[in-house]
Symmetry: C2
Subunit: 348 residues, 2 copies
């Protein structure tokens, strides 16, 4: 384990800067004295796009590449046409750094409100493929704007790409107490991609005899996420299905205000990127109303990825303790929540 | 309105025959004396596939085409490889008869249990495109079974196909008291298809100044479906997104046991097909445990499509009354529920 962390920080748009500040506050507090933390801030996002027309250049990628990891707040603003920053920054970064494991844990912690009735037990992780599927930008448009327009989107799936993420998911399932892995796809309709995913999944499963496996169609998976979320332990799925079910998973386990994610390249050939699942929420930006918890939990994922397991655990414990008390406390500002978490991890 | 109904009946697999029998029972009871109902049963599904290798032939389509409408129970069995009956029968029928309006209402009726906490108000319809998107079967596989396999799925979207379903949805929104229409897509990532859908939606919107419109990404839509379902009135969306969100919509509004759907060709050039959203549920087939309510409500959609508005309403009222009492009654068999509904519509 390196005793220094060279971190790229991308505060971004909207509430991004506010929540990232709290994430860094907690990160600084949790790190042992002897670990040198160096941070470099980058101004990607709507402001830079309006000023320069750039979203993420090759030179930017060269610079980002030198860091150990990336912490991102949020990117996106209504002033930028839909898709420009998503494709030009967020997805470009995932593809450039081959972030093929998009990790999204869902755990309903004590004291946290869920829209579900009863007392559901929710504790699973989604391993979402991050570099293939319909996210590749393949496709096109002919006769744009006419009554004869045709627009296509091509989902690209490779044995290489599917196998590496399926292997990652099996390893994670093997390491968890319940050892269960669910493949979510739509192999009865998307039969070409579905066969590939199912074949690879079944093949790799033979190497993990202790892992219980199941297959669920994506439409049925949304039903189970609200009626039997305890059914899930680890889910592996394609890029688009993963996008959809992780938002739903976040909603049922306390909301996107507390949902963390990692865009991981397990090979470490490139830095991995950690970010809250929520967006830039321009409507509440700059008002100290944003919940920094998702960013703080993303910092925990970042630390675990870099080998700081104990510190990651301390952050997660601090968040659990803080959430357990929230219902009894008056509403707090972004920085008040950050301060409370900082105090807890420092004491922990 | 024709005073006769020539109906094709496809009981299908698993619980299909049981629920269809109840659907027909209620249909017979609700129709005025002077309406002649003629039914022709077809044996499509797993049994026929195993016996003949056929799912749906051109000759079959010729026969089906002659009817006024089709009532289907469920198609699908674990003994048939995934995709064979889905692509070879269900989707083939939708495509052959150009069922471009896939109509799925979601209404949480009094007395019906929902997995959501609180007392959510749910009353919306989803207009799902039925003949395009990633459902076209476009795509393919190279190097199948090798480590170099590549599998693609192509989502095909045309101005013609998008506009007709968007127009249908606007007309439905205009006819409802709240007059609100939500476009659900993922136009920040699937930018080619997304632009087409968004452009057409905005263009048609100008002809419906009374309809309030909004756009929501499919991932965010799953969040709103569990946190603010009252937000929705009419949703229009692509084939795959519609598949996913309508299962979730069914789950939050009482389960797929009571979710109805219509595969509609508004031009009436071909018969439309009505079916419960649930599948063949082979685990409970033949035991009288299946809930026929979704099929009965599909019969109501069928009647409305054929112009029998009053009769459709009587079925819906009977179902509402029956559901309101269910919690107080001991569990009933498939045919007991059908009988109760028959008595109600006959009295109504
Ligand atoms: C903003 C968008 C490109 C992104 C995605 O679709 O992956 C987001 O929804 C997410 O889940 O990280
Ligand atoms: C069985 C399958 C082909 C079908 C679909 O994906 O459309 C089903 O899920 C549905 O929603 O009617």
């Amino acid at each position: 384990m390196s005793r220094s962390i060279d971190l790229a920080v991308i505060p971004g748009d909207g509430i991004g800067p506010e929540v990232v500040a709290e994430g860094l506050k907690v990160l600084t507090a949790v790190l042992p004295q002897d670990v040198k933390l160096e941070t470099t801030e980058y101004d990607f996002g709507a402001r830079r796009y309006h000023a320069t027309g750039e979203t993420l250049t090759d030179a930017d990628l060269e610079q980002l590449k030198r860091h150990d990891a990336i912490l991102l707040g949020a990117i996106g603003d209504p002033s930028v046409p839909s898709g420009v920053l998503e494709r030009g920054f967020l997805l470009k970064l995932r593809f450039a750094f081959d972030h093929h494991v998009n990790l999204r844990p869902s755990k309903l912690l004590p004291g946290v409100a869920t829209p579900l009735a009863g007392d559901p037990k929710i504790d699973f992780i989604v391993v979402r493929e991050g570099t293939e599927g319909p996210y590749t930008g393949n496709g096109g448009t002919i006769r744009r704007g006419t009554e004869h327009e045709v627009a296509t989107e091509v989902s690209v799936n490779t044995a290489y790409g599917v196998e590496r993420v399926v292997r990652d998911a099996f390893a994670r399932a093997q390491a968890r107490p319940r050892k269960k892995l669910t493949l979510v796809h739509k192999n009865n309709v998307l039969t070409f991609a579905g066969h590939l995913w199912t074949d690879v999944f079944n093949r790799v499963a033979q190497e993990y005899p202790e892992v219980t496996t199941e297959y669920i169609h994506v439409d049925a998976a949304t039903i189970y996420l609200v009626t039997q979320p305890e059914r899930f332990d680890v889910i592996v799925t394609d890029n688009l299905f993963g996008d959809i079910i992780t938002d739903l998973a976040a909603a049922v386990s306390g909301g996107i205000g507390i949902a963390a994610s990692g865009n991981i390249n397990p090979s470490r050939a490139y830095p991995s990127m950690f970010e809250p699942v929520h967006g830039s929420a321009p409507d509440i930006a700059g008002q100290g109303k944003a919940d920094p918890t998702a960013t703080v939990l993303s910092v925990a994922l970042l630390l675990r990825h870099l080998g700081y397991e104990a510190e990651a655990g301390r952050i997660e414990d601090a968040v659990s303790a803080d959430l357990a008390e929230r219902a009894t406390l008056p509403a707090r500002s972004t920085s008040e929540i950050g301060d409370a978490l900082r105090v807890r991890v420092a004491a922990g």
